[in-house]
Every structure is written in structure tokens, then in C-alpha cells.
Subunit: 303 residues, 2 copies
């Protein structure tokens, strides 16, 4: 199995800086280099001492046996092009994009000489930038690898071991299936949250001050989701267009049914659905993907 | 101003039991009685020592100068009817329903001899029952009073002082306006969350296990909202039908615009909205209605 003792991280935001922190703690013998196209981010990452920050993507990847592209999905092709001529022979190149089929195709096209293994760690917060990262972000979370038909086995095993060292649980999946699963578990929920926050701020009869004041009734949780990086999310929706539109279509049909139930005073239909959804919640808590502790009251307020 | 030294709480779930705990702590000289139509809840509330639990609504309210109905909106009329003949002259009757215009009309109709002041503390968690309550639930949250044309001034002032003693900030508002504000800040967000959780569990191509496994990408926050009491929420949607349907209509139009933007690769429209919504998030954090701390990673996982 490949030993990944020199890791280059391209893009030092929330995810890139969290990988740097986690790898620094879990793989003390390895060397970490990093680059970000934003000079302010490079400066901050250097201050934080997360990686050896260099001034070009070329310099970052020159000696690396693993390169991880941690840039928004829409910036992935440009990032791949900037490293392609400078890669060490046999280097493994991976990424962390939330949309996989289109990204994987681009990486394989641009990096035809490298060993490409696309990946997606399903973890994050609504915050952005190198200060937002933390070493335990991936602990107990799933990282999905989506190797293509030409991906080589040893590279897959090495990347799996890398993510496991960072505390993640690893799953291998077809890229198109990944995109469908993530459309419903992440992409469409984010789009809906952005939409309702926009709807609320456009109402004439309800002021923005009122929306903010009374947000504890549920709305604030949507604004939290809708505070995630705008560029990252724009890119995800455009890259995973088909699965997102298909899921949105189904969501719209289901919402119409509930609208009709409300209009017709059909409480039974409402109660059926509301009871059914609580079983999924229990499953998530049992799988350790969330805690059962009440959160609407916010932990810090209790006691 | 009326001194509210004997308080009866009808319904001892999350909100009722939280009022009991908060009043017990904030108003040590006052006497608290309570009743719940569910015998198991009465027994548990007695074990917890929250209030003097009695076996009928009539016994609970006999000596009270303040009665608070803490039952689902759809059970409000029956609860009011059960106390009407037993109220002490001059007693103030209030409630905690999330929908106000229809509830206020019912309370005023059934309790024409009492001094009715409808109220809605905008606070809660996704959990239910007497064990889920806690004394600080209302601290720093808003409680909206919606007095009718016939509400008397001293009763309004007394109820305001009561909620302030429990740590709430109090606002007075027209019942219909309340229903519009809450439709957008609470009711429609809940309906959307229930819907997408249902949509996810109905997909053929994605298993429920996958939905649960990869829920950390955003979905788990929707399941949290969709874990709230099914009966309570059924009642709210039916009671606030007009405002909910009107807000849903606008939400649907806004979602269609985004759908079209995705279909047409119109990244600018997406980026505009996603940037605008982050301002509302900042307002909520500045108003103290949520913390800025990253929550997607869940506090307990960090460090």
C-alpha cells in the first residue's frame, strides 16, 4: 500500500484546514504543504501554523504523494489544471467536493496521468475559512470514495487508510449514486433553507425585524443552514443539476399533497406523515449522526 | 395590578411543565396547581413535584387567579369548556397556542365571563412531555400577547409581568398579524421540514439507511425539526390555515425561480440569494436569538 507521508492541501478553508489539523494530529510523521489562491487565507493559515504554506499550487504538490483539492466544485477544473504539470509520478489526487460525477469526470480528464480517487467527507459546519476548521470535524462522520473504472486499487486502499486515520468511516460508492443520495440528504435541504429565508425577507406584511425577533420558533435553524458559503453552494447546485432537480420535483409534489390536506382540513394525512418522520429521526440518533439532546432550546441556555 | 399568586396550569407537557418549573423558581410565594388529561403525565408531573397535581381541570382552576391552557391548539376549546363553570370570578385565562386568531375567538366565546388574554411564548424544543421541560426555556425569548378588543388593561399588565418574571421579553400584537409572522418564522419551516423528511424516506433509489447514514450534510437538522409533536403541529396547520397557505404559495413561487436558475445554469441568481440570506443570519445572532458558534459539527464533537 502507498505510504502517504507527504500531503498537499489545495484550498485552506473550513475543510482544507480541518484536514490539515486532523492530519497533523493523526499522522505526526508526515509532511504537510498547502496553498490557497486567496493571499489573505494563505497568510492566516501560515499564522495558524497549519501546514507549510507556499506561494503556488505547483510548489505545494511537487513532492506530495497525496494531493487533496479542497476548493469549491466550480473551481475544481482550474485547480486540477494548475497542478497537472507539477505532480510527482504516481501521486494520488483526491478532492472533497460535495458533487461527484461531474467533478470526477473533470479530474480524470485533466489529470489523466495521476491516480485519481474522488472523495467526499460528509461533514462541515455553516462557517467558512481557515479559522473555522477543527481537527475532530471528520470523527465518526462518513467519507464517501467514488473511484472510477480506471481507479487503481492500491490508491483506493491508501486513501481509505488516510481518511480512517483522520477518524472518518469510509464507504465506496458509484459517483452517480452518491449524487442522488447527497441531493436528498444535503443539497435540496440547503436549497429549501435558502429559499424560505429569502421568502421571509421579501414579505411586505412582516418586517425583517419581526422575522429575526421571532426566529426561535424554527426559522433560526433554517438561517443557520442558509449561512453556509454562497459560492460553494452555487457550484454544488450547478454541478449536481439532474439529481437536485429530480429531488426538487418530488419534494414539490409531496408539498402539494400537504397543502391540499391543510386546505381540506384533512388532519389525518398530516398526522400520518408527522408520525412517520419521527422514526427517521430515531435512526439518525441511534447511528450516532446526531444527539438526542434537545437543541431548539440551545444547550447554552439550559440549566 | 392583579397579583397572580395562584396559578393553574392545564396541560403538563414541554411548555406547561417549563412554566411550572420557571414559576416555581421565579415566584416562590405563589401556589401552583396543575392538571393533564393524560393520567400518565399527571403521575409523572406529581413525581417530579412540579405543581400540586389534581384529578380534574375543575379542581385545578377553582382558586386560581391565573389559568394557563397549555394544550394543543385543537384541544383548546374542550379545555376551555372544562374550566368555564369552575373559574373564580375575575380570573385571568391565558394560553400558549402557536396560532392565535382562531384560538382567541374560541376562548372569548367559551369563557365570556373570564378575562381572556391569549399569549404565545415563542420558545420550545423538538421534545415533548413533562420530562422535557426546563426552567430557563423562556429566558431571553419573546412572549407575544394578543389581547382582543374586550381584553382589560390590568389583566394584560399582570400577564406581562408574569412572563417577564419567567425571563421572557413581552410584545403585544394583533392576533392576525401574529399568525402571519409565525406562519413564516415557524409554521411553514416546520411543514417544509416534515415534507422533505417524508420525500427522502419515499425514494426508491436511495435507501432509508443511506439517508440516515449521510444525514450530517444538512438533513439531520430537518429531521430534528420534524421530530416535534405530531398532534401539536397538525392542530397548528389547521388553525392557521390561511396564513400558512399564503406563505406556502410564496415559498413555492420562490422555489420555482431557483429551480429555473439551476436548470438554466444561472449561477448569478443563486449567488445573489445565498449572499442575501446571510445578512438575516447575522441579525438573529446579534439579537441573541441564536449563537454564532458552529452547530453543524455539533458542540460535543469538537475539541
Amino acid at each position: 500500500m502507498d505510504e502517504l507521508n507527504t500531503v498537499a492541501i489545495i484550498g485552506l478553508g473550513l475543510i482544507g484546514s480541518s484536514i490539515a489539523r486532523a492530519a497533523g494530529a493523526a499522522l505526526p510523521g508526515s509532511s504537510l504543504t498547502g496553498f490557497d489562491s486567496d493571499e489573505a487565507v494563505r497568510r492566516r493559515a501560515a499564522e495558524l501554523g497549519l501546514v507549510a504554506v507556499v506561494d503556488s499550487a505547483a510548489d505545494a504538490v511537487r513532492d506530495a504523494n497525496l494531493v487533496i483539492l479542497c476548493v469549491p466544485v466550480g473551481a475544481m477544473t482550474a485547480a486540477a489544471e494548475s497542478i497537472a504539470p507539477h505532480l510527482r509520478p504516481g501521486a494520488i489526487v483526491s478532492d472533497v467536493g460535495s458533487s461527484k460525477a461531474s467533478v470526477a469526470a473533470e479530474l480524470e480528464r485533466v489529470l489523466s496521468v495521476a491516480r485519481v480517487v474522488p472523495a467526499h467527507p460528509v461533514a462541515g459546519t455553516e462557517q467558512s475559512g481557515p479559522d473555522a476548521g477543527f481537527a475532530s470535524l471528520f470523527r465518526g462522520r462518513w467519507c464517501i470514495l467514488t473511484p472510477g473504472e480506471t481507479s487503481d486499487g492500491p490508491a483506493l486502499l491508501a486513501l481509505r487508510a488516510f481518511w480512517q486515520a483522520l477518524g472518518a468511516r469510509v464507504e465506496v460508492m458509484d459517483a452517480h449514486h452518491h449524487d442522488l443520495v447527497l441531493a436528498v440528504t444535503s443539497h435540496v435541504p440547503h436549497l429549501i433553507a435558502y429559499t424560505i429565508v429569502g421568502t421571509a425577507s421579501d414579505l411586505e406584511a412582516v418586517t425583517e425585524g419581526e422575522v429575526i425577533k421571532y426566529s426561535a420558533g424554527g426559522f433560526r435553524d433554517f438561517t443557520r443552514i442558509a449561512a453556509s458559503s454562497p459560492v460553494m453552494w452555487r457550484d454544488i447546485f450547478l454541478a449536481n443539476k439532474d439529481a437536485v432537480l429530480d429531488t426538487l420535483q418530488r419534494f414539490g409534489e409531496d408539498l402539494s399533497l400537504l397543502q391540499r390536506a391543510i386546505r381540506n382540513d384533512d388532519g389525518e394525512t398530516l398526522l400520518d406523515l408527522f408520525t412517520r418522520t419521527s422514526a427517521i429521526r430515531r435512526g439518525i440518533v441511534e447511528m450516532g449522526q446526531d444527539t438526542a439532546a434537545a437543541d431548539f432550546g440551545r444547550t447554552h441556555e439550559q440549566g
